[in-house]
């Protein structure tokens, strides 16, 4: 490894990332690689080093930048600093709409990973099975991005563009994740299907946020599925079909056709056909759980 930068101010980090030699080096390996919690960086390094493949030479460690830490709440909603760890989220007092995110926070690796891994890292790593993504999709999260050129905000659904791909340019850094203030009655859950209890990559993950009105009907349902397509995605069709339904009837509505947008693959964790079917079952169960608490909240 060559360069190891550890800025303490965001501006310094952005300046380093803007350095043309580093940001635009033709060899990807020479570009600055961003390191925060290290929970994706080091495993990737181990995987490459095992077969003597090149590993990133130049690193910018953003973990010392105070501006990127902390959870802030204001009238517009909640903002999670990029360096917010999964344990920070699990331990924070957050509205019930974040219960799914908090459950997911306890499923990201073991507690050692949760203590170090960051919310922005989970998004930037852009794994199809990232457990943080489905709950944030259901919360309509927006990714705040900065570079020396300026700032921009991108909805999470547009931020991840493919398997391990995002819209982030080489000189950009995610600074925070903003979640608009959820409806007070919104209730959420997160269900993960894996082949063992802890430390497991999801076969299917489903997050749901549901609000039930005083009339007992679904005012809003947001449901997202992870590990069943290159990018975790919201089930827009299903959400539309659920809106306005009496909560008691809702689960019956969930059907195979609602999973049509998913594009699961065969891998060591499961077959594509299994994933598609499991996504349906887990979605029904997640909705059932969520509706029960949401209806309670409405009553």
């Amino acid at each position: 490894m060559g360069l190891y930068l550890r800025p303490t101010a965001l501006a310094d980090a952005l300046a380093a990332l803007a350095d043309p030699k580093l940001a635009h080096s033709p060899a990807r390996i020479d570009r600055l690689t961003v390191l925060a919690g290290g929970t994706d960086f080091y495993p990737a390094q181990a995987a490459r080093a095992a077969w003597l493949e090149a590993t990133p030479r130049n690193v910018i460690d953003i973990s010392g930048i105070t501006e990127l830490k902390g959870i802030r709440e204001d009238a517009s909603g909640l903002t999670f600093g990029a360096l917010t760890t999964w344990s920070d989220i699990a331990d924070a007092a957050l509205p019930h709409a974040f219960d799914g995110l908090k459950l997911a926070a306890r499923e990201v690796g073991g507690q050692q990973v949760q203590n170090r891994g960051t919310i922005a890292g989970n998004l930037c790593n852009a794994s199809p099975a990232a457990d943080g993504v489905p709950p944030l999709l259901t919360l309509d999260a927006v990714v705040n991005i900065a570079s020396a050129r300026g700032r921009r905000s991108v909805p999470l659904a547009a931020f991840i563009t493919g398997n391990r791909q995002t819209v982030l340019a080489a000189d950009e850094l995610v600074t925070s994740i903003h979640v608009p203030a959820p409806a007070p009655g919104a209730r959420a859950t997160f269900l993960k299907l894996g082949a063992r209890a802890y430390l497991v990559i999801s076969i299917v993950a489903v997050a749901a946020v549901v609000t039930v009105g005083a009339d007992g009907c679904i005012a809003r349902a947001a449901i997202a599925v992870g590990a069943c397509s290159a990018v975790p995605q919201r089930l827009a069709h299903l959400e539309r079909d659920l809106a306005g339904l009496a909560s008691a009837d809702a689960v019956e509505v969930v059907a195979a056709r609602h999973m049509a947008a998913l594009a699961p693959i065969d891998d060591v964790r499961g077959s594509a056909a299994y994933r598609r079917q499991a996504a349906l079952v887990v979605t029904r169960r997640a909705l059932m759980q969520c509706l029960a608490v949401a209806a309670e909240a409405a009553a």
Binding site: A54, Q111, L199, V281
Partner: protein
């Protein structure tokens, strides 16, 4: 402000570790684990995967558990950390260490530092956590030995001070049968135990193997000089031409088919073609593209069907059909008998490669001492390592010394040499110490696995459910090299009909070469695979005959006096009936429980299964002696010279308990010397569940021999009581007391005045062409019940409870026996439900899954002690028997719950679901 960037990279970092302020110069991006272990020399923090998958490197950072392998050292700037070496200073640190010791929560000990740090974290956050809280907090640490339950008990014990278990320092003559605390336990709890990567000399060079990414390829090496010029920190490149002796190793004398370095061809992915010696930094900088290696990939034979196909090319000259070896056991007339049987069951079963997943990857160092070679490495078989290294170096075996380090798990995987030969070659040429540690991925890609099996089997019984015949054809994928393939092919036919009286048997097994990862020894040598088949067929027959599954097994169970399929008459100690009797009330109760549960449950179905097994203790029809030695020195030092490697199963403790009672002195009186090939006799390898039985008997004989000498010296009777007080040996016989002043006795050069040596070789005979003979002197027997819940919507299986009954002859140390059973069940559960090694695909511990804290069932253990007259105080082995019944019991329970039989393991959710869907049993909610 940016820190002053230094393009040379190195920069200081300051932090507090275990209360001490430290400043260390670190390389850019260097892992905290490396800085702690290599920079500061605190090797108590272990590295198991470098990827956050195992948690062995867990330390506390500002009070929170983190994996030191995923923290950049520079991120520790200004932070306060605690590693295992500082645990005792934490409020509950000592209490945790003591509780782990008391509960026998550390077996091999490699995960223990991480476990203890995670435990300290949970107890600092929760004053009185419940089981679930403990498991949730510790779920990031993997253990491959214990099955986790005793770890949770230990943590809860500290939290609640209520779960006190008994451990004892036994009185003289009363050690056998006691829960004597692990004699080598304490250093594992403090981080002081030195494993393969912990003790190399400071001036050692590093060695790194370069391995084939191809499963089958020709390769050629270009000029290495320019490479060496570009990498001045690399001292030398070693290839096949540098091997001074024979470039070959392998378990069997006539099957040395595995090269230290490939010679123009590689036969499996991960095969070493050369090795580089140099500084660690120089080795880390090497990229594969730097090396002048030209690969010519060739089509590979993957799986036994491809290797056995008509016209398949031969992987090794001399084995044109790719069949390494065949094993057979035949008796009676199975075809004719089957024709008259009332019920016939048959099926095809498939198992996968299983990885040992010891948390300690292969590691060690070699140094040349004059014209001798010395290897310090983790191993299960020091004498075999010695002979392999001697052959590779072209030395007499006496010129090689193997000093086993602490062994962080083996399970059969450290019976073969791995890095020893190449370390020896490098140290021989360089004449300076050379060390090596495998990366997790390297370890998984290159070392042996459990043989995948394709088994076709048929069983028949009469109308009363009495077994009539059993026929098995099993093909075992032995991978690219022989390793223990012949052992598997030999052991399977003996055991394949199960622990039952079967008059007509024809079992055939083949070990088949492929271009897959070599398969070798793994806890059970093929018997766990075969047990899946025989237990499934017994369930079929029970169903056909309308007989309860436990009763059918009871009816057929081998008893003392019965004849086995090899024609052996079991003289004694065949306790399967007693095991089943012990389980029967639990079976009935759990059947009722399942029925009650299923009466209202829809998506979740509960089922019960039972698995039985038998397992021959020791080598199959081959001599496998062990020799143990006890000495008294003139200064009164009582030394136990014990060549049996303790890989965490506890032989050091068990053998000392036996020796202590045989001699008549307390366990605490012994100084222990374990495993050094220069100073201990050959105890044989730690495998085949043989150390308690074989080395235990040798230890008993050694103890008795020394006692006899002492009694003769003092003219005392056999009931005399011994006491050792410094150099005074006090012999009390009835009213008389004689004091022997050891300092006055004539001593050998090494100060030894009295000695007792014991040798035991279990009486066996080789099997003839029909597999007839006495392959083993004794057998372990067991039965386990599994209660599982199957999710009909998702195909997931949760094992709720295992009730295990094991005939161990005599439990020398019940706590350690329980530990073996718990750990065996964990591995059996993994085999049944989640473990599937796929070369090139599941070469790490996040794609390859082993059970975690949360996957373990509750376990009830019933110890049956049907004494084995040949064994020490009646004991026989438990290591492998612990694992074998679990997978069949779980699979039987899945079937009972759902009506679906799973014939390919692991029963991953998608496989179970596919079977449920095909049977119309899947639900959509």
């Amino acid at each position: 402000m940016n820190e002053r960037p230094s393009l040379s990279g190195a920069a200081p970092v300051s932090f507090t570790l275990n209360g001490i302020a430290r400043t260390v110069v670190t390389a850019p991006g260097e892992r905290l684990s490396e800085v702690v272990r290599r920079g500061l020399g605190l090797t108590g923090t272990k590295v198991g995967c470098n990827a956050g998958d195992c948690g062995a490197c867990t330390v506390l950072m500002d009070g929170a558990q983190v994996c030191a392998c995923m923290v950049a050292a520079r991120q520790a700037e200004g932070r306060s950390m605690v590693s295992i070496e500082g645990l005792a200073e934490l409020p509950l640190g000592r209490a945790l260490q003591a509780a782990f010791h008391r509960h026998d929560a550390a077996q091999c000990g490699i995960c223990t530092p991480g476990m203890l740090m995670a435990a300290a974290d949970v107890l600092s956050r929760h004053a009185s956590p419940d089981r679930q809280t403990v498991m949730d907090a510790m779920g990031g640490v993997l253990c491959r030995c214990t099955g986790y339950l005793k770890i949770v008990d230990a943590v809860l014990d500290v939290a609640q001070a209520g779960l006190q278990t008994k451990g004892s320092g036994a009185r003289p003559g009363e050690a056998v049968g006691q829960r004597v605390l692990r004699l080598d336990g304490a250093p594992k709890l403090t981080g002081e135990a030195l494993y393969g990567d912990d003790g190399a000399p400071a001036d050692a060079l590093w060695l790194k193997a370069i391995r084939s990414p191809h499963a089958h390829a020709r390769f050629s090496l270009g000029d290495l000089a320019p490479f060496l010029t570009r990498h001045p920190g690399i001292v030398r490149v070693f290839t096949a031409g540098d091997v001074p002796g024979e470039n070959a190793f392998g378990i069997y004398p006539d099957l040395k088919d595995q090269p230290v370095f490939g010679e123009g061809i590689v036969r499996h992915r991960g095969e070493a073609v050369l090795a580089l010696a140099g500084t660690r930094a120089a080795l880390e900088a090497v990229q594969i593209a730097d090396l002048p290696i030209t690969w010519e990939p060739l089509p590979g034979l993957h799986g036994v069907q491809a290797a056995l196909a008509e016209g398949a090319p031969a992987i090794h000259a001399g084995k044109p059909d790719n069949v390494l070896t065949r094993g057979v056991v035949a008796c009676g007339q199975p075809e004719a008998a089957r024709a008259n049987a009332a019920h016939i069951a048959e099926g095809t079963f498939e198992t996968s490669f299983v990885e040992h997943a010891y948390i300690e990857p292969e590691a060690g160092y070699a140094r040349r001492v004059g014209d001798r070679m010395e290897i310090h490495a983790c191993t299960q078989a020091p004498m075999m390592d010695r002979d392999e290294v001697a052959r590779v170096l072209g030395l007499a075996r006496e010129h090689v010394r193997i000093v086993p380090t602490a062994c962080g798990g083996g399970f059969g995987g450290k019976l073969d040499v791995s890095l020893q030969p190449m370390l020896a070659v490098a140290a021989w040429h360089l004449d300076r110490p050379v060390r090596c540690v495998y990366e997790r991925i390297e370890s998984m890609a290159s070392t042996t696995k459990r043989h995948p099996a394709r088994i076709r089997a048929r069983a028949s019984c009469d109308a009363a459910g009495r077994l009539v015949s059993y026929e098995l054809d099993g093909d075992f994928n032995t991978g690219a090299y022989a390793s223990w393939g012949p052992t598997v092919a030999g052991r399977v036919p003996v055991h394949a009909a199960g622990p039952y009286r079967v008059p007509h048997v024809r079992n055939r097994a083949r070990a088949v070469y492929t271009n897959d990862t070599p398969a070798g020894a793994f806890r059970g040598f093929g018997v766990p695979q075969a047990a899946i088949a025989h237990e499934a067929l017994l369930d079929d027959l029970a169903e056909q005959a309308g007989i309860d599954r436990l009763e059918l097994r009871h009816r057929n169970a081998l008893r003392a006096g019965d004849t086995t399929p090899t024609g052996q008459v079991l003289g004694a100690s065949a306790g399967l009936v007693a095991c089943l009797d012990a389980l029967r009330p639990r079976w009935q109760a759990l059947l009722s429980d399942a029925a009650a549960f299923n009466a209202w449950s829809h998506a979740l179905r509960r089922g019960l299964g039972i698995g039985c097994m038998w397992y021959g203790i020791g080598n199959t029809g081959l001599s496998n002696p062990s020799t143990m030695r006890l000495t008294l020195a003139r200064d009164g030092t009582l030394t136990f010279w014990n060549g049996a490697v303790d890989i965490g199963q506890g032989s050091t403790t068990v053998l000392t308990q036996i020796a202590a009672d045989a001699l008549g002195l307390p366990v605490s009186a012994f100084r222990l010397v374990v495993g050094d090939t220069d100073v201990t006799f050959d105890a044989g390898k730690t495998s085949a569940s043989r150390q308690t039985f074989v080395s235990g008997k040798a230890a008993q004989l050694a103890g008795e021999a020394l006692r006899t000498r002492i009694l003769r010296l003092t003219n005392a009777g056999p009931g005399a009581r011994l006491d050792l007080d410094g150099a005074r040996l006090i012999v009390a016989d009835g009213g008389e007391q004689t004091v022997v002043d050891l300092a006055q006795l004539p001593a050998a050069g090494d100060g030894i005045v009295l000695e007792g040596v014991g040798t035991f070789d279990p009486p066996t005979t080789p099997l003839d062409a029909k597999g007839q003979g006495i392959p083993y002197a004794t057998y372990g027997f067991a039965a386990q019940i599994a209660s599982v819940d199957v999710d009909l919507g998702l195909g997931t299986v949760k094992v709720r409870r295992i009730v295990a009954a094991h005939d161990v002859g005599r439990a020398i140390n019940p706590a350690l026996v329980e530990g073996q059973i718990h750990g065996g069940i964990a591995q059996g559960l993994g085999l049944a439900l989640m473990e599937e090694f796929i070369p090139g695909r599941t070469e790490n511990l996040h794609d390859y899954l082993i059970p975690t804290f949360g996957d373990m069932p509750e376990i009830e253990v019933h110890l049956i002690e049907d004494r084995e007259p040949l064994g020490p105080y009646g004991a026989k082995g438990i290591g492998e028997p612990a694992l074998i019944p679990t997978a069949p019991a779980i699979l039987g329970a899945i079937r009972h719950a759902t009506g679906v039989t799973i014939r390919k393991v692991p029963a991953l959710p998608h496989r179970v679901h596919a079977a449920l869907a095909a049977a119309g049993k899947a639900v959509e909610f």
